[in-house]
Amino acid sequence: MDNIFINYSLFILFLPLAAFVIQIFFGKKLPRQGDWVSIGAISITLILAIAMFVGMLLDYNPDFRQEASFTWLDMGAFSIQLGFLVDNITIIMLLVVALISTCTHVFSLKYLKGDIRYSRYFAYLGLFTFSMNGIVLANNLISMYMSWELVGVSSYLLIGHWFEKESAANAAKKAFLTNRVGDIGFFIGIMLIYTAIGSFTFTDIFEGVAGGVLVGTTLTLAGVGLFLGAMGKSSQFPLHIWLPDAMEGPTPVSALMHAATMVAAGVYLTIRIFPILSPDALLVVAYVGGFTALFAATIAITQNDIKKVLAYSTVSQLGYMILAVGTGVYTAAFFHLLTHAMFKANLFYGSGSVIHSMHHALHEKNDHETDAQDMRNMGGFREKMPITYWSMLASTLAIAGVPLFSGFLSKDAILAGSLSFAQHHPEHFLLPVFGFGAAAITAFYMFRMMFMTFHGKPKMPELIDDIHESPKEMAGPLVLLGTLSVAIWYTLPHLNPISTDGSWFTTLVHPVTAVVPGSFTAHAIEEGAHHAHNLAMGISIGVAALGIGLAVLMYLKNIISPETWGKRAGFMYDWSLNKYYFDENYDKYLYQPTLRLAKKIAWIDWELYDKYFINGFGHVTNWASRVSGKFDYNIIDQFLVDGVGRIADNFGFMLKKIQTGKLQNYLLYVTAGVIILMIIQSY
């Protein structure tokens, strides 16, 4: 068994890359534009990932760990080792990526049928899968950073898939640049760590921190720096702005990258580096996560675009995970990552399915004006699209935190963790408040979305006849992931659907104590969370019921009018609808000033510095020579040696005649000159 998992994971890593290369170069020439190449590669990846997963379950070793590394570059003292780390977290993550990626590939077969850049699309999916797996498998910060950026690029390429639309091109650029802001923090963190420890691998870093090489503020700063990277990728406040815009990409991409896997990379990173996060850094993490969870949820309430609702919901859920890491229950964060990947991907597929049929219906009516993603144009699709409806409902129940569904378990663990944290540190009571508040709102807006889309009367009755269930390539992933939203899968081998005690997950992924001196031990955190568990469960069921109930009253039974309440909320409604004017303010106070600064600098550089200062030297020299020339002419020449000048003038006039341009004249002068010289010489 030695390192067989590493070998498997190498295959998992490089197969999608191979598919990418083949698709880029030959995609268009292959039959069916080569989609079978990508599907084949990703299917093998999935099989291997399942094999690894099964292997893990058979082994059932909580401390399983394999590592392999090689020297990438070596200059003597400075060298970089890259390598792969496979442990239980890696294996689960690989499976998630492979599973969602496969589903996306299959789903896209029909969703993007006939697209002009069909093979290109599959190529980029391959590139994404490769880089995502690169993040998952990294055992060091450098290769993680590299994959990190590559993920950013594949996201850029896929969001910009329909680049003819300016909004898509803008969104792609925005995503990349916003991520880069985070990446700068990431890189500064790497530099801080390397400077102190002299190595990039996690093992060495953990050892170094445990040994007290890197302490105090520097450690906190390093942790915050790395977390900044996570904030960018996981779309945390205030870098959350790119994710909703990223919905300009094809819906399956949103499901794969902007819901399930890529955005989870930030969470994955914080989980990986959890042991070196100092208490102060963790506090930052917790507050950012908690605030994002609540903040994004409040925006989601008022959105009318079905994908925007899901996007803000994703931001909010990611905030949950970050909150969990910050409060120390990082296994809960990973658990939520896992369950969220399943149900959120499913929700996106569902929305994709709805949008697909809306498109189709609008196309039938030759209507190209109506927005196919606006929920205000939907309603009453339940009978028409039963598979989509039921699978989405399962996922909605999961995300709302209803017992028996997966989200309940993971969200509960997080809430318990934050509650216990607040019990230990009463001054941070806000953290659980964020959590529970977000839970209530989540339940509300998710059901609002379901009701507006599937229930009630059709808002555009003329379309309803053309709304059909999606083909089986699209329905398959829906059913599969809908099933995976049920709690039972995560509590095995026990069948108690409301507790994860002793399940495969809690056994295999167990918390470790941070290596930072002075942190809580893993045991203490676990104990605390366990104590808070029942209380948290009670409150969370309560708030979920509250949210769902409110949604039922407002959007299903129409007892409370949303419009009236929206008006009553006044500016709050406005802010929420306009996403708190973040984009506008960033534009006004960040982008435009930067551009203006750039223009100014360029102007200074070119029009001022170069034109006046540098060319000024030339002008000064020119001017000086002219002044000296004038002086020469007016004072010395005209005034002092006027007579001599006149003689010279006449002489010059005489000489001008001599200048005939005829060779023979010149020869004559030369000879005459020689004669004169000879005569002079002879005296």
Binding site: L668, T671, V674, I675, M678, I679, S682
Partner: protein
């Protein structure tokens, strides 16, 4: 007899040289040049330079002069034979030339030239040949390259455009 021949040759040389530059007919000038060159060859003989004299006859008369005559023929239409030519600035030029001549003669006569006695060699060819291929090998090769270059250059230049 030798004395007479010597002065005859001198006179011939000078007179025909004058004709070269004074004649109005170009073709006469060329003919006068012929006799000047012969005269110079004769002078070489008196200076014990028999090989140079031979070369003078062969190259100058056999080559250059023929070339010049060709040049004259090619640049004047035969049908309207106007082989005459005019001079410019003759007055000043003449004065300058005469002055030049006078001054040079003064210089020549006033300068105490270095002289050394020597007996007449049997033949100069062997000596010249040895020198050319030993001491003066490099100039020899260089001048041969120059000659080649001039040949090609002349051919390229006088070729008709396209």
């Amino acid at each position: 007899m030798t004395e007479f021949t010597f002065w005859f040759i001198i006179t011939l040389t000078i007179l025909s040289a004058g004709m070269v530059v004074l004649s109005n007919q170009l073709i006469y000038s060329a003919m006068a040049l012929l006799s000047t060159l012969f005269g110079v060859a004769g002078i070489y003989v008196f200076l014990w330079a028999d090989f140079i004299a031979g070369v003078q006859v062969l190259v100058y008369i056999g080559g250059i002069l023929i070339l010049i005559i060709f040049g004259i023929m090619l640049t004047n239409r035969i049908s309207s034979v106007r082989l005459s030519q005019t001079n410019v600035q003759q007055g000043v030029g003449g004065a300058v030339a005469i002055w030049l001549c006078i001054l040079m003669s003064l210089v020549i006569s006033k300068t105490p030239w270095f002289q050394a006695d020597a007996s007449e060699p049997v033949g100069t060819v062997a000596e010249v040949g040895t020198l050319l291929l030993t001491k003066y090998l490099l100039p020899f090769e260089a001048i041969s390259l120059l000659l080649l270059g001039a040949l090609i250059g002349a051919a390229v230049l006088s070729r008709k455009e396209n």
